[in-house]
Structure formats: C-alpha cells, structure tokens
C-alpha cells in the first residue's frame, strides 16, 4: 500500500503540482496522465525516493521512504526512460547482474525463460549495444518476469515496443495485479486490465496554475476491459 499525502514537487524554479493525495492499495494499477511537462516523470522518480520532496509525505506500508531507505527497494521495481542495461554485456549477462543485485536469486533457467518469453532467445549472446531500440527495451522489461517486487513503477514502458511486445507487457502487468501487486505507470497508450482496479490520476488537475482545490477524483472501475 502506497500512500501519498499532500505532496508538492518542484523542478528547479517551477512548482509542478501541489496538494496531491492518493492511495494505491495492493492489486491496483495507477495510470498517471498529464500533458508533456506536467511532472509525470518527476512524480514517479519522487515515488522511488530519487528526488527530495518539496512538501508532503510518501509512505510505503505505513512507513516513510526516508525511514525505510534500502528496505523499500526490496519491494520496488523501477523502469525509467533509460533502460539501465550495459551495451557491452549480452542480454543474459545484463539480466544476471540485475537478478543478483536485487537479491532475488533467479536461477539460470529462470533467466533463460525470461529471455524466451520476451522473445530475445536468438540474440541472447549478442552485446545489447547492437540490438534495436525495441529489443533493448525488451531486455530491460525482461527483468519484470523474474522480479519479486510488490510495487512496479514504470515510466513509459510501451515506447519503442511493437504490438506483440505491448500485449506481452500488459499481460505481465495484469498477472502482477492479479497476484496482489501494485503498478504505477505513465503512458499515452490505452491500458487494458482484466482484473483488479484501475485508478487514474491526471496531473493537470493539480497544476498550481489552475489554483483549484477540488478533491481528488480518480475513476475506479472493475470492468473487464478499460480504456483510458
């Protein structure tokens, strides 16, 4: 359960949004929306504890991020705009390093399966720098398959992916939610969810320019297929 209370964030001189409140229970997906530059990435990075908070509080399972420190990262999976893979290592080596560092002792078979699932078995022994953008993204996303983190924070996970891969990632997200995990993502694409709840958060509503003090309104729904 992630709880955000009264959050304000600043990027340089500019105040991005103020008094943001939301709760993300287990088994739910939060789709963060907003126009370019509204602070989606900044919000996600703040939720990861990478940015100092201007005002307010972020709590994970009742404890603030600062008091949790490294323990929080046991439960967190983050994928930002950068893939975080080394170009001189092969896809398999990249996954092996990621597995060892996140403390989940993924076996060699699990890693192979992850690569297989994401459709990179043919290029598993090539250095990732010669792969295409989409394939690099797939390597980064393959970590999702063997991740044991409860909270996934994904910044634009669908960019550069083909239709097939988008469907696969959506399936992974759905399974994760079904197993009681939480997901926060930003995307300009449609998000389909077959189980669990889908929350939406539009950052434009919290922009200080509007000076509106309307209460939080995100739509909650349990429908079979939701488009947003």
């Amino acid at each position: 359960m992630l709880t955000v209370t009264n959050l304000s964030l600043r990027r340089g001189e500019r105040l991005l949004f103020t008094t943001l409140n939301f709760q993300l229970p287990a088994g739910a997906l939060l789709h963060v929306r907003g126009r370019n530059g509204s602070g989606k990435t900044t919000l996600l990075r703040a939720l990861c504890g990478l940015l100092p908070i201007e005002q307010g509080d972020i709590q994970w399972r009742g404890q603030t991020l600062t008091s949790l420190a490294e323990d929080y990262y046991q439960d967190l999976f983050f994928l930002g705009h950068l893939n975080g893979i080394k170009g001189d290592l092969t896809a398999l080596e990249n996954l092996r390093v990621a597995g060892r560092l996140t403390h989940n002792f993924a076996t060699e078979i699990e890693l192979q399966t992850a690569l297989n699932t994401i459709g990179l078995m043919n290029c598993s022994d090539l250095p990732t720098r010669i792969l295409s953008q989409g394939q690099k993204k797939r390597v980064a996303l393959a970590r999702l398959i063997f991740s044991r983190a409860a909270l996934w924070i994904l910044d634009e996970p669908f960019t550069a992916l083909d239709i097939e891969a988008v469907a696969l990632v959506q399936q992974l997200i759905t399974n994760h939610i079904k197993n009681g995990g939480s997901v926060i993502l930003t995307t300009h694409q449609e998000v389909a969810l077959t189980s669990g709840t889908l929350h939406q958060l539009d950052l434009t509503d919290y922009s200080p320019v509007c000076t509106n003090l309307n209460p939080i309104h995100y739509t909650t729904s349990h429908s079979d297929l939701l488009s947003c």
């Binding site: 990861c48 990478l50 940015l51 100092p52 490294e70 323990d71 990262y73 046991q74 967190l76 983050f78 930002g80 705009h81 950068l82 893939n83 975080g84 893979i85 080394k86 170009g87 001189d88 290592l89 080596e93 390093v97 990621a98 060892r100 560092l101 996140t102 403390h103 250095p127």
Partner: protein, 223 residues
C-alpha cells in the same frame, strides 16, 4: 552483501575487458610521460636519480586523473547508475566495489610497471622497492578521493576541468609523501618509514570516508 560487491566488481572488470582501449589509456599515458623526461633532460644519472621520484609520482597523479571521468559517467548515461541506487544494497558499498574495480584497472598496472620505469631513472634497488610500495599504498588513495570528485562533477558540462581543479589539491599530500619516501630511501633504505605510515593513515581514512562521500554525491547528481 558480499555477493553484490563481487557482482559489481566482476561486471566492471568484464566491461573493461570488452573496452580495452579505455583501460590501457591511463597506463600508456603514464609510460609515455615518464619516458619523455629522460629524453628531454639527457642521460646524467645523478640528475635523473634526483628527479625520478617526483616525475613518476606526478605522472601517476595525472594518469589517475585521466581515467577518473569515466568512473561513473558510462553508468550515468545508460541508466545503470539509477538502477544501482534502487537496489536493496547500501549504495556506498556498491560504489566501493566500483572504486576497487577502477583501481585494479588503472592503479595496480602502475605498481606492476614501476620497476621498468625505475630503471630509466637509474634508481637503486631499495628505491625501486620503495617506489612500488608507495604506489601500492598511494594509488588506491588516488582512486578513492578521485571517486568523490567524479561523483560531484557527474553530468556537468566541462566537468573534466572542474574535476582536476577539485581533486588535484587533495592529491598533494599523496604526492609529497610518495615522492619523498622514494628519494630518502635511495640513500638510507629504512628512512622512508614515516612516509609509509602517513600514506597508510591516509589510505585508511580514504577507505572509510570516500565511498560514503561519493555515494552521497551520486544521490545529489541523480536528483
């Protein structure tokens, strides 16, 4: 925790083996600079013996500086550094692994090549011995202190120049102790001892504080 240390160390060494040119630049630079002096000064043994320790140490300092900029830059650019910050490990510990890998690739080769360098300056056996020992004690300090500078200047434009301005003053004690130890031990073999102790003390201090400081600087760099 040891596993994550070994993981980062092995990863960085493996990456270096696949990018050999970057690794050997520092070593080649060191060899070339040190070899230029005897050519420029001439073959007067007494003068070379006197200049040798200082020249070798200055060259070692500059060679260490040369490789520093890349210490965190590659990880910063491809997003691996962000992922390192988000692993359930103390960041200072992972940074320490990166510094050790950096030292193994840029510092240790200087220690190994030192006897050959000493021959160019006609250093005595005991002075050569001292030179290797001081480099062994001093070069990790260069990597450790340098890591703080590299982390502080990460992502800045013109970071290279700033890095030199920031770090070279902090290198001065290492240079003074290292060069002095070699020059005094060429007359009396055991006279270098106080300098060894000073270098050792500085190494311990750097081992303790540098990874913590570099980790804090990295967190700021990634904000």
């Amino acid at each position: 925790m040891l596993d994550s240390f070994i993981c980062i160390l092995a990863r960085d060494l493996r990456l270096a083996l696949r990018r050999r040119t970057e690794v050997f630049t520092a070593l080649l630079f060191f060899i070339i600079v040190v070899s230029l002096f005897p050519l420029g000064i001439g073959n007067d043994q007494a003068i070379l013996r006197q200049l040798g320790p200082g020249v070798v140490w200055v060259a070692a300092l500059l060679a260490a500086m040369l490789a520093l900029e890349r210490l965190f830059a590659a990880d910063y650019e491809d997003g691996s550094l962000e992922q390192l910050l988000l692993t359930p490990q103390p960041l200072a510990w992972l940074v320490f692994a990166k510094i050790i890998a950096h030292w193994l690739l840029t510092g240790l080769p200087l220690v190994i090549i030192a006897p050959l360098i000493a021959m160019q300056y006609h250093l005595s056996a005991s002075a050569t011995h001292t030179l290797m020992l001081t480099l062994l004690l001093g070069s990790p300090i260069l990597s450790l202190i340098g890591a703080i500078g590299a982390a502080l200047t990460l992502g800045l434009r013109g970071g290279g120049i700033l890095l030199s301005l920031l770090i070279l003053p902090l290198y001065i004690p290492v240079l003074v102790y290292g060069a002095k130890a070699v020059s005094v031990s060429s007359t009396v073999a055991s006279a270098g001892q106080p300098y060894f102790l000073l270098l050792g003390a500085e190494l311990l201090l750097a081992l303790l504080l540098a990874p913590l400081a570099a980790a804090a600087a990295l967190r700021i760099a990634l904000e």
